[in-house]
Amino acid sequence: MPRYVMVIDVERCIGCMACVIACKKENGVADGYFRTRVVEEVRGEFPYLRMEQRSELCNHCEIAPCIDACPTRASHRAKDGTVQIEKKKCIGCKACILACPYDARYSTPEGVADKCSFCEHRLKEGKSPACVETCLGHSRIFGDLDDPNSEVSQLIKKYDASVRLEFAGTRPRVFYINKKFAGGL
């Protein structure tokens, strides 16, 4: 089985938000909810400024607090290693939402937990996630970390990749490269 990861090249994010809406349309996300976001961080004082924009989403952690917190196994690890939610089993207790250190989950208007699925249905068709496909800056790169020749493997090897809240010990599968600021994730 592949080991899917996403690499986010922060330098190449132009903050266009195409990913945010492509994700919503692809996955039929309800009005007012989002599975991914673009954050902006500015440091310094006029006119000595630095800024980075980066997208954030579910990290599909290898050690996933949401799976541990779920009482019904609705949140589970799929065969391809991604973290998924089986809606039928979700009782809407919101424990996973609280357990997630990344604010990646929300409760839908129907009362079930929801989050980024890495576009599981597209992966099955051999396509990349919708956000990756439409990313104008080619800031989001997706692929198989077990394939040493994949773009993601090459990038992670070449750059000093970091993850969000490394100290949380969740081993995220979303990696950031070319960050301007150490930390800040």
Binding site: E11, I14, M17, K25, G28, F46, P47, Q53, T134, L136
Partner: protein
Amino acid sequence: MSITRRDFLKIAAVTGGVAVAGTPVVKSVLALGKKPVSLPQYVPTTCEMCFWRCGVIAKVVDGKVVKLDGNPIHPNSRGKLCARGHGGIGLLYDPDRLKTPLINTGSRGEGKFKKVSWDEALGYVADKMEKIKEKYGAESIALLTHGTISTYFIHLLQAFGSPNFAFPSFALCRGARDTAFEITFGEAVGNPERVDIQNSKVIVLIGSHLGENAHNSQCQEFAEAVGKGAIVIVVDPRFSTAAGKAKYWLPIKPATDLALLLSWINVIINEGLYDKEYVAKYTVGFNEVASAVKEYTPEWAEKETDIPASLIIETARLMGKNKPSVLIHPGRHTAWYSDNVQRQRAVAILTALLGAYGRPGGIYLNPKKKLEPVFLSDKDYPDHQKPEIHKGNYPFAGEEGLTHAIVKTTLTEQPYPIKGWFTTGINIIKAMPNQRDTLKAIQKLELLVAVDMMPYDGVILADVVLPECTYLERHDDLFTVKERAFGISIRQPVVQPMYDTKPGWWIAKELGKRLGLEDHFPWNTFEDFLKMKCETWGIDYSELTKKGYISFPESEKPYISADNEPKFKTPSGKIELYSKELKDKGFDPVPKYTRHEQPPEGWFRLIYGRSPVHTFSRTTNNPSLWELMEENTAWVNAKVAKRKGLKNGEYIVLINQDGVKSNKVRIKITERIRPDCIYLVHGFSSTSKLLRKAYLRGADDQQLITRYDIDPIAGTVGMRVNFVKIAKEV
């Protein structure tokens, strides 16, 4: 088995034409008794969420558009769409769309609409047009227009006998840039601009905020260049997204850009950093430029621009060192001050001195492909009896006309009255400066017709509103794409029109019929016309409908080489650093610096720009995009805010020099702007109650632009000449 024509018609009727997605259904033995599964249909078309015209592939399930994606073979999209492109679904299914023709039964602008049939609405309009023609002449009807619909209504207007039309995209947007490039290089820089950004080693953005203006393919190439380590130099009073990628952010004092440009030219000439061979071979007027810029030293420019002389020299040297792969981005919205054309001329001259025109990483050359024009009809337009007024008295005004010339003539009735306006694809309130003049002008009209998809501010002022269907529901004229290679892009319906709405071509044709101009529309459906056009051009129509885009790769000749020498269509046949043409018409043949007024103490210059999720005022009500940005914010420098005791996110109002007060707007307190400016994203605070999401959300920059300059060369407008102060919302 042979299919007769009659059978074919039956089939066509069932499937609803070639392009419109039907609903194929899969019924397998296993699924018997269960609800059949609909297979998605994929229909290519061309986007209209902005003017970039990307190739789109619509995914349609059960007659409903569920997703829009970029067409991989279209050079403007390359398989990707921006947020607005994806948000086209929000336009299609916006519950606030115009749904039927409307006639205003109250006084002008009152918006007391009654729903009427197309027949009644068109009959009413045609009748009024004939009356105006009889009383004042056909020239007394003018058209303000933007986008693809313009083709049909300019045609109708000219067939009717009036030459008076204007696009806001000239005077209020890119006219200055195009004029300057035509004067210098003999041709405009194109749309999309022919910038070879992915190969640039140095990218200079002057007031252009790529990324925030989400020009799809250009953003893709910009990110590519940044990824490859291009040096980005951003000149902007605001720390834009692009500034976040820049090695040099030069927070220039607004209105002094020409000083910086002339000073860069000064350094590049003084230090011998220009491309000597290129300049000798392709240009005229180098000596005149060299002597004209002598006075514009970096030390002088520092005092004007607030940019240290050392940085001016350092950045100029970087350009010189990396020539010719330097892109001085020609910009797009260049309607800033009274000297727009001269400022853009300086951009063009700098580009030429660096040898970057026709060279990798600079500006690539037009593709080598020409198709003979195919007109909507072969019938000649009648000669108009009176002189055209739509270019004002500006010697270099473009064929696209000047919106302010039409407003002015309407107000003054000189040299003759204008009594009817058509507004098609334009929101006249948000697009044009000085709303008071626009409102006064429409009170002088006997007919105001709006053709659009949404009840925008300007649309609800009309006597008659004719609802156009969206780009996902109609055919339009073919698009000729002049990217590196030449290509043809098609717009075709992906679903049937919702409500009682019609395509622009149909509305123009039906009006033509009622005006006795049916000979000017010698085709039944627009598809018939497109097929004929394709046949003339030797293009396979059916292939075009399936692929959405057809490319002519052999036309790609982007760079100058021994067998690809450029031809400059200027009077001298060379790049005109010095323009005799300008001199003969009484203008400076080489740009000279003019000082513009700066805001008095306690006032701020109002600057404005774009958000990547909205297009002008056209998308602020789009449910898909509205939730990404519901209202704009007023950017205020952090130190200024602290001094004034303002809190981030609180509502303020802006009051301009003429006492005009904005709607309440949230303040964004930020280090990312100079202390002497306030920035608004353009297009917010709709005054149309029928736009339930956008109504009075945020502040309208255009409302505060009561004052504007006019560039005497081409009649382009300067809109960055308004000053505002902050008042607390009470």
